[in-house]
Symmetry: D2
Subunit: 341 residues, 4 copies
């Protein structure tokens, strides 16, 4: 059985997902696309796919069984609500929505539907390295996790386009989501510190250092460097009561030459997370084929929105900014286990 998918938004990430759904993965077919730029949609449409005039038409088409949203953030709420209204599983790229109120509206609609339909694109949760790391933590042999050191380094960002709020509302969300997931915890508050600025980014606030205070008391520190030149380097280490677990070097040939004994570092997120994106969709296809969703949920998108908001406030206040969430709807499982209990 093949899942018939419609894709909203055919920019860079939309095109990449179309390629993935068409060439890499099984059990799925892209039967429709749409974009505000109709020509771009037509160019991106695989053979046999219909180009819809707008998201609404795509979502309501009886030929479309599930929806992939790759449009820009401000458009997500309306599209998500339409998909939920149509009872169709929907994969939504980050950010889920762009305000707390919008997140609550989507959550309410999904809860009213009574079953998860939305999956948010936090691909790190599908990365094999992170999954093995979580398995070690969850295994409990090292005791409770007390601290998590998360390092997020990017070789470069486009000058002018990448502004000083983006490390906090665009980049940090990955570290925040993976922290919540790795530690089975929620973020209770955020602090932001701004170290000496890198001369490579002009006036850009870079690097940025963030503390996430988790509900259990675990402390997460995040180094965000977005212009560090040498590569895309994602690191993470969890300090537990009787041991430590960390992400390994990426697999790469060990070369001994005039530069020492060494392994290459990924150039960018595409290289680093390509298998995670594949796996993310593999699991979504399976869930959507059963009329539901898996992995990161509306709840997780809501949490990410709150953390990003708090981080922006914290960068301004230089103080602790609390993250206050509503009670977790039962649809999204039990409250995060507090390891202290």
């Amino acid at each position: 059985m093949t899942l018939r998918v419609g894709v909203i938004g055919t920019g860079m990430i939309g095109q990449d997902h179309i390629r993935r759904l068409t060439e890499v993965l099984s059990g799925v077919e892209v039967v429709g696309v749409t974009d505000i730029d109709q020509a771009r949609a037509a160019a991106a449409a695989p053979g046999g796919a219909e180009v819809f005039a707008n998201p609404s038409a795509l979502i309501s088409s009886s030929n479309v069984q599930a929806v992939v949203i790759c449009s820009w953030g401000p458009a997500h709420e309306e599209q998500l609500l339409a998909a939920i209204a149509a009872g169709k599983p929907v994969f939504c790229e980050k950010p889920l929505v762009t305000s707390e109120a919008a997140a609550l509206r989507v959550m309410e609609a999904e809860a009213a539907h009574g079953r998860r339909l939305v999956q948010v694109g936090f691909m790190r949760r599908f990365d094999a390295d992170y999954r093995r790391l979580k398995a070690v933590i969850d295994g409990g042999r090292l005791g409770a996790p007390l601290m998590f050191h998360s390092v997020h380094r990017n070789a470069s960002v486009p000058g002018g386009l990448y502004t000083s709020d983006m490390p906090l509302n665009d980049t940090l969300v990955h570290d925040a989501d993976i922290s919540r997931w790795l530690l089975s915890d929620e973020v209770a508050g955020v602090e932001v510190r701004v170290p000496r600025r890198s001369s490579r980014g002009g006036e850009l606030r870079d690097p940025v250092f963030v503390l996430l205070h988790m509900a259990s008391g675990a402390l997460v520190d995040v180094e965000i460097s977005v212009n560090i030149a040498y590569g895309y380097d994602i690191r993470g280490e969890v300090s537990c009561e009787t041991g430590v677990a960390a992400l390994p070097n990426r697999p790469a040939t060990v070369i001994s030459d005039a530069n020492g004994i060494r392994q290459a570092i990924p150039e960018d997120w595409r290289e680093r997370f390509i298998e995670a994106y594949d796996q993310e969709f593999r699991e979504w296809i399976l869930a959507a084929s059963h009329g539901t969703a898996t992995g990161p949920s509306t709840w997780d998108g809501y949490a990410a929105t709150l953390v990003a908001d708090a981080a922006l406030r914290a960068a301004f206040s230089n103080s602790f900014e609390a993250v206050k969430m509503i009670a977790k709807p039962g649809l999204y499982g039990p409250p995060a286990a507090l390891a202290a209990e």
Copy 2:
């Protein structure tokens, strides 16, 4: 477009490939199976697939576009010749055949057909670590490859079933094939040395140490340990004129605990090469959909047969045993580049 495949042999490896073709990969469908044990074939057949009475019926079925051979080695020649006669692409698990004469007959048939139809299951060539290693060697920055140290360690082998010839005709073929491929070279001769025996295998000749003398003069040394208890550990290091390139540790969480700072080692070949098997079939499906084959060829299966034969002779003679190949048919590309030229 979906490739319709028939699978001959539904033992352990056949079942695993059926799962792969059915659940993991796209662009392919298993439409027929057969096995000497009809009940086992019926049990392994995915929904909608026909259970054929014998390989001949499967191969000649107009519904089968391409064939996967997972039967035992002595049956391969007849099945390969039938597939070639039918002009159908065929994936054949190791060994290609069990004698030099049989390999020559299959090669002759394929050459007469005029296009590659056969792909042999040397999955290491599809492993990402080996591919990166080859890219470094081929890049030439380290100069010509002069030596290759290949380590092949297996946690355990079934007592009684695994006999002293098997390190040479079953295990060594992987190291021999990967050496030929990594170095773009041929094996010109083989020596075998038998170190002090491990007490874990009773009378089993284990470990075994093999030297492959390559046509270019490059020297390959192979450590084969099949009962080393601690895991399935495949290592490889190429010494070149100005540097060295080696396979890395496998990706695994870096744990610091009472056992030190450490990474887990794969338990067995399934864990180690699971992605390589997937990739092997991904590329085969693409090639077979175009009516041909890619990767390891009949020529490579022929070479493996000759090396295994020479290794068995060398273990007996304790001397250098030459590997004498026929001139390489043009179908299989140019002769291996001799780096000395």
Copy 3:
């Protein structure tokens, strides 16, 4: 020429230094010892060494050319002042003194003498790993240092004896000193955060997380875990503008066995820093033979005192606590280079 040394304090660390000066290092002789426990002093005295009745007698003895202070912290000020008054080089174990006022008095006395006489026992500065790390940073190829992640893990601390202030005034001083030295910077302020508590230490505040705000704007984060069971694990990574430099694993046999591929971790600080202690004294002997001191100075001991005081205040206030130093006396070299200049 041999330096004749007197040792004040013959407890555990004093005995270890006597062993080092007697058995390991050249160019030095222990000619006198003293301790509040005369019997312990007598037992620790190497053959031929005089047991003095008190520190004053030892310091003023014409046979003693240089002094090593291993007494408890509150006694240091008087002994340091006596040694300076006598114009004798003096090695002083941590802490230099136990109050800011005392540090200022010692500094004033030394400045009046006009030449450095005091060396403080921050042995990390003599560790080969840290020295190589500093050489990389100072080399400038990675650009300015912006962040330093310092990890200080101890397998266990004696229950009851190790109290909740000690991670800050006993343990943190090492990270603070090495941060100042690695980054050629001063600490301008301190913040302390207390993560979820380890269940292994009862009421002990452990782990502790500290931020050191350096004068240049560089940000240092310190993880202090004093009961982490698995070993004594000192880590450090400096994030610069175009790259990162980190301490390596300690040299240890790479073992592949049922626990994975692994390297042992040091058990305690003695194992970790034994060569650093030797080198520290090697360089001190050389300097003292020329009537002066090298390495960590009274200024550095003063800075450590201020940082520990600020950290204790910060743990109480949960706020930023400034470190306010006097202008650096010329005796101690130029002010720390601000990398931004």
Copy 4:
């Protein structure tokens, strides 16, 4: 108590040992030197040391308690015999002597003296990495050692001066000695294979591949590459029955930059083994102060001579060349334990 030492031969290595004995180590004093070049001897003599007219005068001087031989190999026998006749401990740089007959004569003289006086300069045995490796093997947790892979890479050798016999009689001896010591075994025979030649050394036979067949049956394979450009890289891995133990990377800052994540490799043997040389003399001084020797003995020098001879024969014959030793004199301890027993 200070050991008064005379040094014979003040070339590069002699000067380095004089520096070591004078500036680095304690308990020792260089009281005499001699060299065929008297001016060079005078220049190398530390303050207060006597310059002797010849080795004989130095050895017989009542002021010289122990002797260090750094002259060229052909002169060693006479000097060793003189030192033994004088009953003085003697440290002798490699090679012990240059023929089997000479080794037997020295051994006979030492045996007649009744106590070990001679220590041979195989410094690897004092290297911390090798010592930890041996401790792991001897600990027995990995079972018996079955294979040892020893890699000996040198960045470059002086063109013209380094001839094709030198990898076997100058370089291999280190691998042979360390194999005997690590495995507590003897070499029973040698095979040599010559891989494709590196273009960097002209006609020089490089690399060379050697098999050492140990008495226990353990098999040692040695890669010798003397012109590999990238550094001085010494590697070793022992395969045992249930696990593997290997030398680690050398301690070096872990740098992440445009060249990847990497650690520097030593430039030459001085950098690699500097601590081993210090430790070698530290232990010699202690033993010589008690009128005897420790570590590598005349027996080990004899073994090295036999292995080098066999390797040169094997390079010519392309066959197995046996190493036939006399029964081990009791002076040198029990015969190497055969692990199989």
